[in-house]
Symmetry: C2
Subunit: 280 residues, 2 copies
């Protein structure tokens, strides 16, 4: 009997993951979802080798479980099903925040290993209907192993990352992940929606260039998902937003003073930081 | 003798424009620059039909003059050469701000027509070494004709816009251009540099996704150019920065209060604006 990977939740990320996992070593991929339309789409698009709505049965048989639900639902799932995982199994997730998830995994019995994961890929759309087996190509795959994790499971996740096309695997702590992700991802989304709150938004057709299209692309976000991601990382995120407000105000004040020399100096400093970042 | 278009200043935009203009009707393209290395590069890459460092001689013969200098240099050029243009000529520019430029064109004699222009294309690099004849493909070409302009010149610019591959031509006033461009372009650049001012910039390697790369792409900007563009449009730009600060603070305060319902409502409103913008 082949080893099994159960993917719980076939949304954009779970659906893409189930598709991308196919062909990984000799694993059978089992897709799990409650929604009949999602299961039907998954069936007609061969998103997994097998499909079911019975999560309990799937995880009882699975050697690896990928939790691809919204963060609050992952916390609930871990609590509800904590005794139902196969002993010796690896449980992992794909969620954009890590501290709340890994803390919730403390309910698991000691014979079940949990390693938090975050493949940094996404789209400004939701649901399996937009899933793409190439979604993870070129993405960083961040892992936050707990003390005492089993090293063969970390090796397994590294082989999966390579199979699905990730650029590299980055190991870090849950705290560092959440602090940095507030900066590199969450505040990008807050900026995009804040830009769309400008009263001139609908005046700008015909005047938008690449930078505007790039910045606002992620504003059409999945509201329930991002409400959870932002709320469950509010402490790190509000610190980054405050930094950004301060940095914007500093530019505004130099412009209001008409201090061209100071503006030149500030721009040179910032542009140099960006070039320095690109070089290394 | 063929009609001539003189391109004054063969930087990224001027060099790309000279390349893109070749083949436009029966015009001969004359490239003008002071810098020997730029002229040599232009010669070996056939950036124009003819090349010279003598701007005065070039504009005396040119039926169309494209001013592709930095904004302050355009103002100086118009003042210095105001009597040297060929009577009946069209003078235009490619500058990212329009009020200061069109105001400066008031020094021209009445037999020289000036129509301000802004093809909305660019790159985060400078100089003819990065020029690309396809740079304007798909871009909006904004024109700000003055009262009393000659309609055949507007027609000519429309045909040029089509020839160089622009998506459309948008006619507006200099005031509206500068107000909207502060929002759709200038503040995107201010955001990019402000993001790079965050103390965590160099911590973020390995944690950056598409939205971070997109947002910060334009931060490595041409400092002298953008110092002028920002300074010469400071009134409109500071208003937009203040709006953005307010909108960011509003998101931060909801997060600090832990008011999930208000966060959901705000995100739904903003995301809906973005989707509405895409639909029309």
């Amino acid at each position: 009997m082949p080893k099994q990977i159960a993917v719980i939740g076939l949304g954009l990320i779970g659906g893409s993951m189930a598709m991308a996992l196919q062909g990984f070593e000799d694993f059978e991929i089992v897709g799990v979802d409650n929604d009949p339309a999602t299961l039907e789409f998954a069936r007609t698009h061969s998103a997994a080798h097998r499909l079911t709505s019975d999560a309990g049965a799937a995880i009882a048989m699975a050697d690896v479980v990928y939790l691809c639900l919204h963060p609050g639902a992952i916390v609930d799932f871990l609590s509800t099903h904590r005794q139902a995982f196969k002993p010796g199994a690896l449980v992992t997730d794909v969620c954009g925040i890590k501290t709340a998830i890994v803390d919730a995994a403390a309910v698991l019995p000691p014979e079940v290993d949990f390693i938090g994961g975050h493949p940094m890929a996404g789209k400004e759309t939701s649901g399996i209907f937009h899933a793409d087996k190439a979604l993870f190509q070129g993405a960083h795959y961040i892992l936050t192993p707990r003390p005492g994790h089993r090293s063969e499971h970390l090796d397994l996740l590294r082989r999966i990352a390579a199979h699905i096309g990730c650029r590299d695997v980055v190991e870090t702590t849950t705290q560092k992940h959440d602090a940095i992700i507030a900066y590199t991802s969450q505040v990008m989304h807050i900026m995009a929606v804040a830009v769309c709150d400008d009263p001139d938004l609908f005046e700008c057709r015909g005047f938008e260039g690449g930078s505007f299209r790039d910045c606002t692309r992620v504003a059409a976000l999945d509201v329930p998902l991002w409400t959870e991601l932002f709320s469950m990382n509010a402490s790190a995120l509000t610190k980054v937003i405050r930094n950004l407000e301060d940095n914007l105000r500093s530019y505004r004040e130099v412009l209001e003073r008409g201090d061209t020399a100071a503006l030149t100096q500030k721009l040179a400093w910032s542009a140099d930081r960006k070039r320095h970042m690109d070089l290394e």
